[in-house]
């Protein structure tokens, strides 16, 4: 049932707000050191001590940012509001809203295994819910007429990016806690690779159909 553009707009607006709040609340978990001195060395030591928090902030900011960019891309091709999107989207937002906790836990002891596993598992949950959302949203007849099939297939494949990267980071977490997050830096490349595969496959299929 297509309830028209106003309802879709509002779903986007609500999602945008949750993404924006979660991404901005990350900073609250970076605790401000309160020192009773003016000495440079004391402040530099306190800031050095916060480096894992800064890195956790940046990592989660960019990951939530990537989730939002993907959400933006997905809803940019949809034709109208689809009530079936409502709850998968809400569950995705729930995991996004939970990210500040997982980030702070990880940053508080970046070399411990359990916090790293917990963080990667949270990202994996976000990735799988995003994948589910993409699968439901990109069903037949739900995209705007001018969006070509290869772009839709590129989007579908692209949604595998976060699940893949988070799964690798999760598997690596017990063995190299802290460093396992470097796998997340592959996200931009992975996204491009998956999109290229999806696009090529759609084109090949269409070529086969035309030829057949």
């Amino acid at each position: 049932m297509n309830q028209g553009p106003a309802q879709l707009e509002r779903l986007k607006a609500f999602s945008d707000a949750v993404f924006a709040i979660a991404i901005t609340l990350l900073v609250i978990e970076v605790h401000v050191p309160r020192l009773d001195t003016l000495e440079d060395a004391a402040y530099l030591a306190a800031l050095a001590h916060l480096v894992p928090s800064f890195m956790g902030f940046m990592l989660s900011f960019l990951t939530i940012g990537a989730l939002w960019v993907a959400h933006h891309r997905l809803f940019g091709v949809l034709d109208g509001f689809e009530p079936r999107l409502m709850w998968p989207n809400m569950l995705l937002l729930m995991v996004v809203a939970f990210m500040p906790f997982a980030t702070a836990l990880m940053s508080s002891s970046p070399l411990a295994r359990v916090p790293e596993v917990f963080y990667s598992a949270t990202l994996l949950a976000a990735g799988l819910l995003q994948l589910l959302l993409f699968r439901i949203a990109l069903g037949p007849g739900r995209t705007r007429a001018e969006v070509v099939p290869e772009e839709i297939n590129a989007l579908r494949w692209r949604a595998l990016t976060l699940p893949t990267a988070a799964a690798v980071a999760l598997l690596a977490a017990p063995h190299m806690p802290g460093n396992n997050n470097f796998f997340l830096l592959s996200i931009p490349l992975l996204a491009r690779a998956y999109a290229a595969i999806g696009r090529r496959r759609a084109l090949r299929r269409m070529a086969a159909q035309t030829a057949g």
Copy 2:
């Protein structure tokens, strides 16, 4: 007095923002454990200790989410801005904004009676204000022309869901603190049942009028 779509849009946007912030602030009340160790067991114990907080986060996220979905559904059928909606909506938002406190209180001691009663009572207040908002909003001549009467009646009945579930949870709270929240899991089913009743009743009434 119908002041047109722009004013309605802005009321929706403001409401969306309050819902989104309240739902995302829930995580702030889940306090991050700070441990001076790398041992798995210590972290697992700390996380196990937080299970009530995680469950409170999820329960309130889904409940506020359901309130937002209902709000979205209601405003999707309205025809224009109605100033009389302003303050009932503001009071509903006030209770929604208060939810992070009620959730944190409940999660801090999930087997105590007073926090559970307090939490259920907060939900009941939200449910009753939502019911009031629906009653005012769905008055005659306020819905868009293409919305059929049985859908309006379904919405009206559906607004009984949260008051019912919260009232049962409130009555059960002193007797089975903590477990009383399981009644809230009936919300999706209850919503469907109430909507079906409302729809059937409207159809029966219309059939009677046609026959009469």
Copy 3:
């Protein structure tokens, strides 16, 4: 220079977000009691101790809510974006964003004079900035064609509500700290009275011009 509706929309959206965040952050300053007991009496005592915080939350929620309703009403009659509104609006938002601090200070010791004076003074600053915003925004030729002059004058007078109520609360604060806030409950009545004066005066002036 009228830069068109898109720029006005965005100014509204940004303002809505700041209002919504400030109003929802109020709850963060209501600190959750953490008790190591299941006894009802201990929780009831802790909640009783929080009554000033609950009242501060409600008072500030409703006051910020009223400021937002007035903002919504004002921008509902404007014709387009006016860059001169930008900074008075930003200053108003600054005071609104500061409200959680003033509220928490007042709630932490509701019978002390300085926090009450501080709170009332913050409200007075908000009221005066709102008045300035209304004066600039409602200048000649800036409202939509269908808005009648008596409504514009009603809005102009209505903007005196918060400055009046806050000034009275401020003057009373040193003499009856805590109770001075009851004067703020006159806001709904005062708003109606001022609007009626503004409307009547505009009609009388127009009648005089027609007769003259």
Copy 4:
């Protein structure tokens, strides 16, 4: 690739939300004094102690406000969504979201050198990312047809304001910690001066082309 106005709207909405949240979260870092007395002197002393926090709040509010005003101005002249804007914008938002931390660090010890350097460096990072965003966004053929070339050039030059002011404040920070922030007060004047230069240069160039 121009993906149309809906995608641009959503990028603005998300950015607005991050700006609004960061600007409103500033107040959370102003810690409410909790005193067990009703005496005026104790409260006045506690408030006096918070003056650096109040000043930090105002300074950062106005600076983030100025960043938002510039963002609003920039996106007001753009013609459509340009995917290349996405990540520079996200990085700018990341620094904006980080501002509450930098502000709180600076306010906690306003005469220490390291926090002041850290704060100015954060502002400089925001300024440089904003400059990058303006350069990409104002490329040829990306602005609406009715926007005259001298206005585009004024915007381009105007984007030098924050980098200039922040660089001066950064250089001065080690020598006059605390007072170095006064250079930021030059932002309104500097913005006007740069805009005037940009406008004049564009007009001169066009005059030369017409004459040539």
